[in-house]
C-alpha cells in the first residue's frame, strides 16, 4: 500500500491564481481530511469527508472547496489564492471505527502565495 499520497510536494502561486491539491489513499478508508499547518503551529482542519459524496467544513474552510466523488480521492481546491493561504497542507485518512480514529497522514504540500 502507498498509504496517503499528495501532489504536488511544492507549489508557488501568484495572488488570485487557482489550483487543486490532490490527495489519494489506497487503504479503503471512509474518512478523509484536509489540514493546514502554519509555521510553528498545530494543524487546523479545513474540510473533511466521512464517505464518497459527503463533505463538511472544519475550523478554517473559507477560501477552499472540496469534493469526494470516490472513496480514494479527496482534492482540495483554492479558487483565488491569497498570501494568507501560504502554509503546508496535509491530507489524512482514517477508518470508521467509532471512538478510535487513528489518522494516517500524507507527506504534505508546501504552498507559497506571492
Amino acid at each position: 500500500n502507498a498509504g496517503v499520497t499528495q501532489t504536488p510536494k511544492f507549489r508557488i502561486l501568484k495572488i488570485g491564481q487557482s489550483m487543486t491539491l490532490q490527495c489519494a489513499q489506497d487503504m479503503n478508508h471512509n474518512y478523509m481530511y484536509w489540514y493546514r499547518q502554519d509555521p510553528g503551529m498545530g494543524l487546523k482542519l479545513i474540510y473533511y469527508s466521512v464517505g464518497a459524496g459527503i463533505t463538511d467544513k472544519g475550523e478554517v474552510p473559507n477560501g477552499y472547496n472540496v469534493s469526494r466523488s470516490t472513496t480514494e480521492d479527496f482534492p482540495l481546491r483554492l479558487e483565488l489564492a491569497a498570501p494568507s493561504q501560504t502554509s503546508v497542507y496535509f491530507c489524512a485518512s482514517s477508518k470508521k471505527t467509532g471512538t478510535y480514529n487513528e489518522q494516517f497522514f500524507g507527506p504534505g504540500t508546501r504552498l507559497t502565495v506571492l
Binding site: 496517503v4 474518512y31 489540514y35 510553528g40 503551529m41 498545530g42 494543524l43 487546523k44 482542519l45 473533511y48 466521512v50 472544519g58 496535509f90 489524512a92 482514517s94 470508521k96 467509532g98 471512538t99 478510535y100 480514529n101 487513528e102 489518522q103 494516517f104 497522514f105 500524507g106 507527506p107 504534505g108
Partner: protein, 113 residues
C-alpha cells in the same frame, strides 16, 4: 470554544534520559486522545492513544497518562534517543464528533548528546 494547548513549546533532553511532554485540554466531553510525532518535512505519525475511561496506557518506550480531573495529558518517552527528535502534538476528539480531532500547537523535543 474547544482548544488543546501545551505547557512548553520546546523541550531539551539529554540522550538516555526520560522525556515528559505535557498537554492541557479544555473540552471535558472529549472521549479520546492521541499523541502524534512529526519529524521535519513529514506528516504527523501516530504514536499512542488513550480513551477517556483510562488513565494510563503503555506502548513501546512510550506511556500516555490522562488526568481528567485537571484535564491534563502527558506523553512519557523512556530512554530518549536521537531519533525521538521531533515535534509532538496532542490531539483530542470531542465526544460529539465521530470523526474530527483537534490538534494542539506542539512541543519540539530536542536531544542533547
Amino acid at each position: 470554544g474547544e482548544s488543546v494547548g501545551l505547557h512548553l513549546p520546546t523541550l531539551s533532553v539529554q540522550e538516555g534520559d526520560n522525556s515528559i511532554i505535557n498537554c492541557a485540554y479544555s473540552n471535558s466531553a472529549s472521549d479520546y486522545f492521541i499523541w502524534y510525532k512529526q519529524e521535519s518535512g513529514k506528516g504527523p505519525q501516530f504514536i499512542i492513544d488513550i480513551r477517556s475511561n483510562m488513565d494510563k496506557r503503555q506502548g513501546q518506550r512510550v506511556t500516555v497518562l490522562l488526568n481528567k480531573t485537571v484535564k491534563h495529558l502527558s506523553l512519557q518517552i523512556a530512554a530518549t534517543q536521537p531519533g525521538d527528535s521531533a515535534v509532538y502534538f496532542c490531539a483530542e476528539k470531542p465526544g460529539s464528533s465521530a470523526s474530527k480531532i483537534i490538534f494542539g500547537s506542539g512541543t519540539r523535543l530536542s536531544i542533547r548528546p
